[in-house]
């Protein structure tokens, strides 16, 4: 194939690898994820996990998770799962919400055992799963060494 032809073909391929591809950053073979999704696809989007890019220590890191949802009886967030990549206890927390919440937003302070990727998976009332993942650099880890 000529270089120009190859370039045209590869440009055509780009939309196929768009942002809404299922399971793009969540491992569906991870037993922890399977326990939550029962094998369903996890789609990146709708969820916004807010964590600092750098935490001086991992003992207490401010965390906010938001889900884009009208939070009505027909369409709401049922649960938000917070999963750590490297903590000894990877299943950090699950928050159960409903239409009475009005807004799908939960904040807390978490422990991080070193630099890692944090994942939030939201379970919606229509049975779909959405996720966000962020990387946090942790200078001094929590959990296994000290408080």
């Amino acid at each position: 194939m000529k270089r120009r032809g190859f370039l045209a073909v590869s440009l055509l391929m780009v939309p196929l690898r768009g942002k809404t591809q299922a399971n793009a950053h969540v491992s569906t073979t991870d037993p922890l994820v399977v326990a939550i999704t029962k094998g369903k696809d996890v789609i990146p989007g709708k969820v916004k996990l807010e964590l600092p890019a750098l935490a001086v220590n991992g003992h207490s890191v401010a965390m906010t998770v938001k889900v884009d949802s009208p939070m009505t009886g027909a369409e709401h967030v049922r649960a938000v799962h917070l999963i750590s990549e490297k903590n000894p206890v990877r299943e950090m927390a699950t928050f159960y919400l409903g239409p009475h919440s009005g807004r799908a937003e939960v904040g807390s302070r978490i422990r991080l055992n070193g630099t890692q990727r944090m994942t939030a998976i939201a379970e919606l009332s229509d049975g779909t799963f959405w996720s966000d993942q962020v990387a946090v650099e942790v200078r001094e880890a929590a959990c296994t060494d000290g408080g």
């Binding site: 003992h59 207490s60 890191v61 906010t64 917070l82 750590s84 903590n87 000894p88 206890v89 990877r90 299943e91 950090m92 927390a93 699950t94 928050f95 159960y96 919400l97 409903g98 009475h100 919440s101 009005g102 807004r103 937003e105 939960v106 904040g107 807390s108 302070r109 978490i110 422990r111 929590a142 959990c143 296994t144 060494d145 000290g146 408080g147």
Partner: protein, 106 residues
């Protein structure tokens, strides 16, 4: 006995979104820490928490040692009638805790 502080707005309008904050005094002991004698301190963390508003559950969470000591939680609810926010939680030592705050709806 665990102590907690709950923060809600002084007054809310009916149908308004209300931000609820709670801080509970609890070590959220990980089970990995050692005391001054080098002995392992047993794991003891709050693993379940729920909040009822006028008797109906409006928020529930399962927590782990991944939540920082003196756990802080922040969430929203829609104001209905004036009433009590009743928090309940349970830790690994089977210690129950409760806290209550009043939500005044104008």
């Amino acid at each position: 006995m665990a102590l907690a502080r709950i923060q809600v707005p002084k007054e809310a309008k009916r149908g308004e979104l209300v931000e609820v904050r709670i801080v509970i005094q609890h070590p959220m002991e990980t089970g990995f820490r050692r005391d001054a004698d080098g002995k392992r301190v047993a794991r003891n963390a709050i693993h379940s928490l729920a909040c009822r508003y006028n008797g109906a559950e409006v928020f529930r969470a399962t927590l782990s040692t991944g939540i920082a000591a003196n756990p802080f939680l922040r969430f929203f609810l829609r104001a209905g009638e004036s009433g009590d926010l009743d928090f309940w939680w349970l830790d690994d030592d089977e210690n129950e805790g409760t806290a209550r705050a009043r939500l005044v709806v104008a």
